[in-house]
């Protein structure tokens, strides 16, 4: 079987065609993201975990900033012995990535020595460096919050003149824009400062467990390592708190399903003191915990709860009902921690030798030290900071659309970040010399064309991988972050062999069996279609969708490992989950009945 698999390969990049009519939109992506003929020699996979939908031109900055930072940390800062960074390409709006392995033994040896001097220092001083990281990250957030509002007056205000500022407002447009970009690129540097080292320490323990207990499930190892109090859980915890407070204050009957957040807030304001008291609690939760977006932070339209209260408000009635039914709302942290401790002890007891037990203690100890970063960074980076970033760009959208560059403020995201800068310079020039800006005659048709391209690309599926299949996948970054293994690729390759098979296999992420109607959700806008008891089928299950987990019966995803936050949340809610199926969103049709067996990692299409 493995020989037939080896002979097979994924389509070559050069065989992918840009969908007819979208060629100009494709060409607008920066040149360094376009596939070239040499790329046929290499293996690529579609990063549907982070980029499940076609990327608007501006949003590709996320890929660019992230891979620049990831690669720098791996290649130049910590010097990972066997891998450099990640290359990225885009076609039809889909981002493909490929690792750069190091295979020369002499080079690996040289990098190993470097790695020990650098990475070991980080491990040795983890707590201090992580505390420093939080300070840096908070300073970065404050800097972004302090950036002036994006606006340009007709005439320079008198006080600027009297203060002898000497620099006019048009200059500050460019200044703010460049600082906004600079902050975003910097945030991604911080993001990857610890990440691979953190995952590596976790994977070291994981690897040991798999050798000592060959049949242990991924999710069991994950449960031994996972903390319970990471910041990423806080937004959902805040909702539970607000639900309880609503009952305590006797205002819960105002927070009803079907009412809009605006209506609810208005009715609470009219209610007097108890209503105002609850709104005060809401304000406390919102800053900062509602700075969480409904996606993973990689798309400008993944708005935060603060920007769109409908997601948190949709979840509140469910939590209120649960609390009234006598359920304890707060997660039982102490109990969860005691369970984790017991789990670790019970497995420890099964080890064969005292030497194993001593090594086990060392590895789980290291994993626990690094994990607060692994679990905690997302809130600061992908959510809080990313929301500030996209909202700042949105301010430029407001300004440029007001000056006729395009009809809608959101259209700014259909320009690359270089093009936005050009438009800003155009406006600066126009403001300075009194001539009309050139942009209004240039951008509207281009924006229209690009919008149509995104809509077209969304209709087409894309190959999960491209190019020759590598013999082994020895890149810790690819294995850790994307869960891509040789075995997994073989499964992707053979998936098409049994088109009639009604079984889809993936990672067993959270045990239990559930049957229900599948809702194939291809983007975050479709979350509203989920009904009580539905089975969520998506490209990547997103942890910030946590509030909808109280509604669904099970979750299935194309991409993801058992340590994904989605898997953790599913386990907390006791929902079956199968992740990393590769093809679930393509094979399962919306509305079909499916059975999800989260203990075995199997989804069965029932019809």
């Amino acid at each position: 079987m493995s020989t037939t698999v080896k002979a097979r390969r994924f389509p070559l990049p050069s065989s992918l065609e840009v969908i007819a009519g979208t060629e100009r939109a494709q060409a607008a992506y920066p040149y360094y993201m376009q596939f070239t003929a040499e790329d046929d020699e290499r293996f690529w996979f579609y990063n549907s975990m982070h980029f499940p939908a076609p990327m608007c031109l501006f949003d590709t900055i996320t890929a660019e900033a992230a891979y620049c930072a990831l690669g720098a940390a791996n290649t130049r800062v910590h010097c990972l012995p066997t891998t450099l960074g990640i290359d990225y390409r885009i076609i039809n709006g889909r981002i493909y990535i490929g690792g750069n392995g190091v295979t020369d033994p002499a080079e690996i040896a040289r990098r190993t020595e470097e790695f020990k001097q650098r990475a070991f220092y980080y491990y040795g001083n983890w707590e201090r460096l992580f505390a420093h990281w939080k300070d840096k990250m908070m300073a970065l957030i404050r800097d972004a919050q302090r950036l002036p509002k994006v606006e340009i007056p007709e005439l320079e205000p008198l006080e600027h003149v009297y203060a002898g500022r000497g620099v006019a407002s048009n200059h500050y447009l460019l200044d703010i824009y460049q600082k906004t970009l600079e902050g975003y690129y910097r945030m991604w540097q911080y993001h990857f400062e610890f990440l691979l080292l953190g995952y590596g320490a976790y994977l070291t323990f994981f690897d040991f467990c798999k050798k000592a207990f060959p049949e242990i499930s991924d999710q069991t190892v994950a449960r031994m390592v996972a903390g319970m109090q990471a910041e990423i859980f806080r937004p959902d915890d805040e909702l539970r708190r607000l639900a309880r407070r609503a009952i305590e204050l006797g205002v819960d009957d105002k927070i009803r399903e079907g009412s809009s957040p605006g209506e609810i807030i208005k009715s609470l304001e009219q209610l007097g003191d108890p209503g105002k008291a609850w709104l005060k609690e809401l304000a406390v939760s919102r800053d900062p915990w509602f700075n969480i977006n409904v996606g993973d932070g990689f798309y400008h339209y993944h708005r935060s709860w603060n920007d769109d209260l409908s997601m948190p408000f949709a979840a509140l009635p469910g939590y209120i009902a649960n609390a009234k039914a006598g359920q304890r709302l707060e997660r039982p942290i102490e109990k969860l921690m005691a369970e984790r401790k017991k789990l670790i002890e019970d497995y420890r007891e099964l080890l064969n030798t005292d030497e194993d037990r001593a090594a086990y203690d060392q590895m789980i100890g290291l994993a626990h030290r690094v994990f607060p970063y692994v679990e905690g960074h997302k809130f600061y980076c992908e959510h809080w900071y990313t929301n500030l970033f996209f909202n700042k760009i949105r301010e430029f959208g407001v300004l440029l659309s007001a000056h006729g560059f395009f009809p809608d403020q959101e259209d700014v995201f259909h320009l690359t970040h270089f093009e936005v800068e050009a438009a800003i310079v155009d406006l600066m020039t126009s403001w300075s010399n009194g001539s009309p800006p050139r942009g209004p005659s240039r951008w509207p048709p281009i924006v229209e064309e690009r919008k149509a391209a995104i809509a077209e690309w969304t209709k087409h599926d894309t190959a999960p991988a491209l190019g020759p299949v590598p013999d082994i996948i020895d890149d810790p970054a690819i294995v850790m972050l994307w869960g891509i293994t040789r075995e997994g690729l073989d499964a992707w390759l053979t998936a098409g062999d049994q088109p009639d098979s009604n079984e889809i296999k993936g990672f067993a992420a959270s045990r239990g069996v559930a049957e229900g109607v599948a809702r194939v959700v291809k983007s975050v806008d479709e979350i509203g279609r989920l009904r009580q008891g539905d089975i969520l089928v998506c490209q990547v299950t997103n942890p910030t969708w946590a509030p909808i987990f109280q509604k669904i019966a099970a979750a299935v995803s194309d991409i993801g490992g058992s340590m994904s936050h989605a898997a953790i949340v599913a386990r907390e809610f006791g929902l079956p989950a199968v992740v990393g199926t590769g093809t679930a969103t393509q094979k399962i049709k919306d509305g079909q009945r499916v059975r999800v067996d989260g203990g075995r990692g199997v989804v069965t299409i029932l019809g």
Partner: protein, 354 residues
């Protein structure tokens, strides 16, 4: 029931008695005393066997005859000689009258075990003992009789169990391993039969990888003999010992099942269509089996190979537990050793494939 030189109640036996009650009897007694549900019964001790064996020996002892086999003979002659001796000895076991006192003791214990229903079905099971008593390799060489009804049949099958110690296969096995005949004796377990809805085996580690963190369960409809004999491909489950998560759930086509025959013994019957592909154990039962497996393993301090049954009322009973031998016999090398600095373990991940 009062235990005597000839008989012991299972409730009075511990593993330390295994030289007098055999490995199976010792283990069942030990389980009973550990509070694990085992069908009630008694053991005809090896002392009774020894007395009867002595009665059968006229000129030369049977044991020395067995030991003198296979001294200087070719394979074929050897087998002929074993077969001839086996037939002679087994015939005597079946025909010579039991001592009167022993016979009445067995009948008394039988009556007590069956209560007001003298044809209560019983299992009559060989329980051999050897000097080293770690005799799992003996498994399957001696006979077991299921669904035995009535006192006469019970007496008959006790003799058959004794005689099975001198079956061709048993003798050949002992000669091959140069075992001393003095150390070999046969006790017989007489137990209430479980009218099994489902039965099977359970290993408290993985037979495939040796992983001690999982429990493997094989199960089928009816009596467990269908699994042990290999006539049915059983349902197979792998359960995490500690978390209870079920990672493998292979439901097979269980085309036949072993069920009690109306006149005693076991029939192989076709499984009704609607049951063939249905799991023969529920998730709750798997969880209960896991608990029992952990308890037994903890009691013995090592992985176990267990036979079990679930009766028509859903009660789980253990029929046997013995130490797992295959993986336990392998040399144990640590997966990893502690490092001077815990951090250096990360090189297993970052250092590349070696």
């Amino acid at each position: 029931m009062r235990s005597s030189q000839n008989l012991s109640s299972l409730a009075d036996i511990t593993l330390a008695d295994r030289f007098a009650v055999g490995g199976k009897g010792g283990s069942l007694g030990e389980l009973t005393r550990a509070g694990i549900a085992v069908p009630p019964g008694f053991v005809v001790r090896t002392g009774a066997f020894e007395r009867f064996l002595a009665m059968l020996e006229i000129e030369k002892t049977i044991r020395s005859r067995v030991e003198s086999l296979c001294q200087n003979q070719t394979d074929e002659d050897e087998l002929d000689a074993i077969t001839a001796l086996s037939e002679r000895v087994r015939a005597r076991f079946e025909n010579v009258a039991l001592p009167q006192d022993l016979q009445s003791e067995i009948l008394g214990a039988h009556a007590e075990l069956c209560g007001d229903r003298l044809d209560w079905p019983l299992a009559v099971r060989s329980s051999a003992t050897t000097e080293d008593a770690e005799d799992a390799s003996f498994a399957g060489l001696q006979d077991t009789y299921l669904w035995v009804m009535g006192a006469e049949a019970t007496l008959k099958y006790v003799r058959s169990c004794w005689a099975s110690l001198y079956s061709v296969a048993s003798i050949a096995y002992r000669r091959k391993h140069r075992m001393r005949e003095d150390g070999v004796a046969m006790a017989v377990v007489v137990q209430q039969m479980v009218d099994a809805r489902t039965a099977g085996v359970m290993f408290t580690r993985s037979p495939l990888t040796g992983d001690r963190s999982v429990i493997t369960i094989e199960a089928t409809w009816g009596l467990g003999s269908a699994v042990v004999s290999g006539e049915v491909t059983p349902d197979r489950f792998v359960i995490a010992k500690i978390t209870g998560e079920i990672s493998v759930r292979d439901i097979s086509d269980k085309h036949v099942q072993h069920l009690p025959a109306p006149s005693g013994g076991v029939d192989e019957v076709e499984t009704p269509d609607e049951m063939r592909r249905v799991p023969s154990v529920s998730d709750d039962e798997l969880a209960a089996l896991r608990d029992i497996g952990r308890k037994v393993e903890r009691h013995y301090g090592r992985p176990q190979d267990i036979e079990w049954a679930i009766d028509r009322n859903g009660k789980i009973l253990l029929l046997q537990s013995r130490p797992e031998t295959v993986w336990s016999a392998k040399a144990v090398n640590p997966v990893a050793r502690p490092a001077e600095s815990p951090v250096s373990h990360v090189m297993n991940i970052f250092g590349g494939r070696r």
